[in-house]
Symmetry: C2
Subunit: 358 residues, 2 copies
C-alpha cells in the first residue's frame, strides 16, 4: 500500500511512497500546460488527468531524504503539499523514502530514552556587523547535572544549505540522543552555525572557489567558539573540540581545523569537497600539517572521512593517499546511498562514538 | 529607493518594498500563461515582460508581516524567493512591510542587551500515541541564575499555523528579551505548543466548530504542563501560569483557562475568536464563571483582549459586555493593523508587563 510521505505538511495525502520506494506525486493544476517533478537529478513529466489533476510515479528511489521541486510551466517551486527545507539556496520540498524500522532506528525518536534539546541562539557578530544565528544541541543530562561540563562538536552543513539543515534534514538530535542513551557516545554539545555558503557557488560575480564560504573560518574561531564557551557549560581546549561538515562543510572543516590544530583534535568530513590531488605536495598541502605524520597523528586524535557508495571514489582515494603518507585516517562507506542526507546521518552516527574518549 | 524585503531568502533581490509600503514582485516564468500574487486578501495580476519576467507592484500595504502566495497558471505556491512560514495550513511565503525603526524597536534584535534562547523540545504524548513538539523560550538569566524558578506563559498560534508561528512570524523572543531587559516584564518562560488547529476549519468532514482544536485542551493540561514543570525550573500554581492565544488560539485560551481557573490567573486573547454574543446568558456562559463577577475578579488577575483597528469591533463589544457585568477586562487596540502578526506582536508586548506581578 502506498502511504503519505512523512515529510508532507500535516494532513496532506500526496506525495505518497510505495512499498518499493517510488514516489507518487499529484498536483491539481487545471490551467497549466506542463507540470514536472524534479527529484534526484531526474525530471519526471506529469500526466494531466480528466479534472486537471497531474500525476506521476517515479522510478524506485534510493532510501533517505531527497530534495525535490515542482516545475509548473517552467517555474521551479516548492510543493505546497511538502514541508519546506532550506536547500539548493532556496526553500525546497523534501521527501523521505523510508528504510526499515531497524535501519532507521538510530535516527528515529525513541520514547523510552531521555532527550536533549536544540536551542536557537542569536548573537552579535562584530565581523559581519549583524545578528547571527546558531542552533545548539544540549544532551538530556545537561538539564539535570547542573555543574557538569561537556565537550563540543561543531557541525557544518553543505553548499546551498544553512544552520537549520543538520537538525531538520539530518535528524542530528535523534542520532545524538540514541547514541548517548546506548552508551556509544559520550554526552556532548553540538553547535550548528551558518557556514556562509548558503547560496550556490558561482552566484557571486568574481568569487573564487577558495573564497566561497571562507569568511566563516574567522567567525567560527573568533566569535562562535567564544560565544559558546561563555554561554554554555563546556570543556575547553583542543581535546574537547571536534569539527565535522558535509560536502562543502567538509572542505571548510579541513580548511579550518588543519590551520588550527592547536584548537581541534577530532576532524570529520562527510562526502567532503576536499580536493586532495594524487599529485599533491605533502610538504605544502594544508600548510604542511601532513608532512610529519607522527606529529600529525599525535595532534589529531581521529580523522574520519565518509562517503556514499553512489558518490564515486573521492573519499577513498583521499584516505588511501593520506595513509600512504603515514596519516591515520578512518574511511567509512555508506552502502547504496548518494550525495544526500542519509549518507550524512550515517556518517554522523559512525563519527560521534569516537569523539572525546582519549 | 525600494529595498529587498527582510523576509527574502538570503541573497534574493525580490520581492522589494518601496518607501511607501508597496511590494514589488518579479518572477521569471517565460512559459506561464498567467501569474498572480495573492496577498492580504487581494489578487494582483502580474504583467509579462519581454523576457518572460512577470512583474507587479501592489498598492501600499499595511505595515507588518503578511502571508502571500504566487499563483502560477492556477496553482497557488510559495514564492521561491521568500523564506517559508507555516500559515494557512501549508508552507506559505511572507513579507515584512517595515515600520520605522522606533516603532519596530520592541521586536528588533538589540545587541546591547542579554538574550534568551528558544529551545525545541520533543516529548511523548500518551493521548496521541506520538511524539509532539514544543518550543520553549527561556530568559537570558535562566542560564546564569542556576537555582531560580520562573513563571510560565503558554502562548498559542492561530488557525492554519503551528508551534513555529510565535517565534518565526511573531518575533516573540525579541519582544520578551526587550521587555525583560527594560524592566517592564518579569523574566518568564514562554511555551509554544501545537494547538491541533494547524489546518483550516472545515477540512475534516463532519467536524464541528467546537470540536476544531478542542483536543488540545487535555493535551495542555495533562501532558504539556507536567512536561514543562518536570523539565524546566518553573514556579507552579495558578498565580505562576498565564495563557494567551491569537485568533483561534484566543478561543482555545478562553475555553481552557475559564474551565480551569484553579490553574491559570492571567488570560489573554489577541484578535480572539470568542463568540461572546450580546444575548449570552452570563449564568451559563463559559460554565457560569462570569456569573459572580467579584469571585471571577479575584480568581483572574488579568484578563486582556486586544485587536487591530482594521478587524472590526468584536473585541471591543466583548469587553464592554464583560464590563457591563462587572468583569475586569482590559481592552487594547492596535492602530491601523488588521488580522495579522503585527497586531499580535503588539498585543504580546502590551500583555506581558502585567503578568506575574500581583
Amino acid at each position: 500500500m502506498p502511504r503519505p510521505a512523512s515529510t508532507n505538511v500535516r494532513g496532506n495525502k500526496y506525495p505518497m511512497v510505495t512499498p518499493d520506494g517510488r514516489a507518487m506525486f499529484s498536483v491539481r493544476a487545471p490551467q497549466a500546460k506542463e507540470v514536472v517533478v524534479d527529484i534526484c537529478n531526474k525530471k519526471y513529466k506529469m500526466t494531466r488527468g480528466f479534472m486537471g489533476e497531474w500525476t506521476v510515479t517515479t522510478d524506485p528511489l534510493v532510501v533517505g531524504f531527497h530534495y525535490y521541486f515542482l516545475n509548473i510551466d517552467g517555474v521551479a517551486v516548492a510543493d505546497p503539499m511538502s514541508d519546506s527545507f532550506y536547500g539548493c539556496g532556496v526553500m525546497t520540498s523534501g521527501i523521505e523514502i523510508p528504510e526499515s524500522a531497524s535501519d532507521a532506528a538510530y535516527y528515529t525518536y525513541d520514547k523510552s530514552i531521555p532527550h536533549g534539546q536544540v536551542r536557537e541562539c542569536h548573537y552579535w557578530s562584530e565581523k559581519e556587523q549583524s545578528m547571527r544565528r546558531c542552533f545548539v544541541y544540549t544532551p538530556a543530562e545537561y538539564e539535570t547535572k547542573k555543574n557538569a561540563k561537556y565537550p563540543v562538536l561543531y557541525l557544518q552543513h553543505g553548499m546551498g544549505e544553512d544552520e537549520r539543515g543538520w537538525h531538520q534534514q539530518g535528524k542530528m538530535a535523534e542520532i545524538l540522543d540514541n547514541s548517548i542513551a546506548a552508551g556509544k557516545s559520550v554526552p556532548m554539545i553540538v553547535v550548528m552555525d551558518y557556514g556562509n555558503c548558503g547560496y550556490i557557488f558561482g552566484k557571486l560575480r568574481g568569487e573564487t572557489r577558495d573564497q566561497f564560504g571562507a569568511s566563516f573560518g574567522p567567525v567560527l574561531i573568533d566569535e562562535v567558539i567564544p560565544y559558546i564557551e561563555s554561554h554554555f557549560r563546556v570543556k575547553t581546549g583542543k581535546d574537547n573540540r571536534a569539527m565535522a561538515g558535509l560536502s562543502w562543510g567538509g572542505k571548510q572543516t579541513f580548511d579550518i581545523t588543519l590551520a588550527n590544530l592547536d584548537k581541534f583534535s577530532y576532524i570529520g568530513a562527510f562526502s567532503g569537497a576536499l580536493f586532495i590531488s594524487p599529485n599533491a605536495d605533502f610538504n605544502t598541502l594544508y600548510g604542511g600539517v601532513f608532512a610529519d605524520a607522527d606529529k600529525f597523528n599525535k595532534q589529531c586524535k581521529y580523522l574520519f572521512m565518509g562517503i556514499g557508495t553512489e558518490e564515486g571514489d573521492g573519499a577513498k582515494n583521499a584516505v588511501n593517499l593520506l595513509r600512504s603518507h603515514g596519516i591515520n585516517a578512518v574511511y567509512y562507506e555508506s552502502q547504496g546511498t548518494a550525495h544526500e542526507w542519509l549518507t550524512w546521518r550515517r556518517c554522523l552516527n559512525e563519527f560521534i562514538p569516537h569523539l572525546f574518549k582519549k
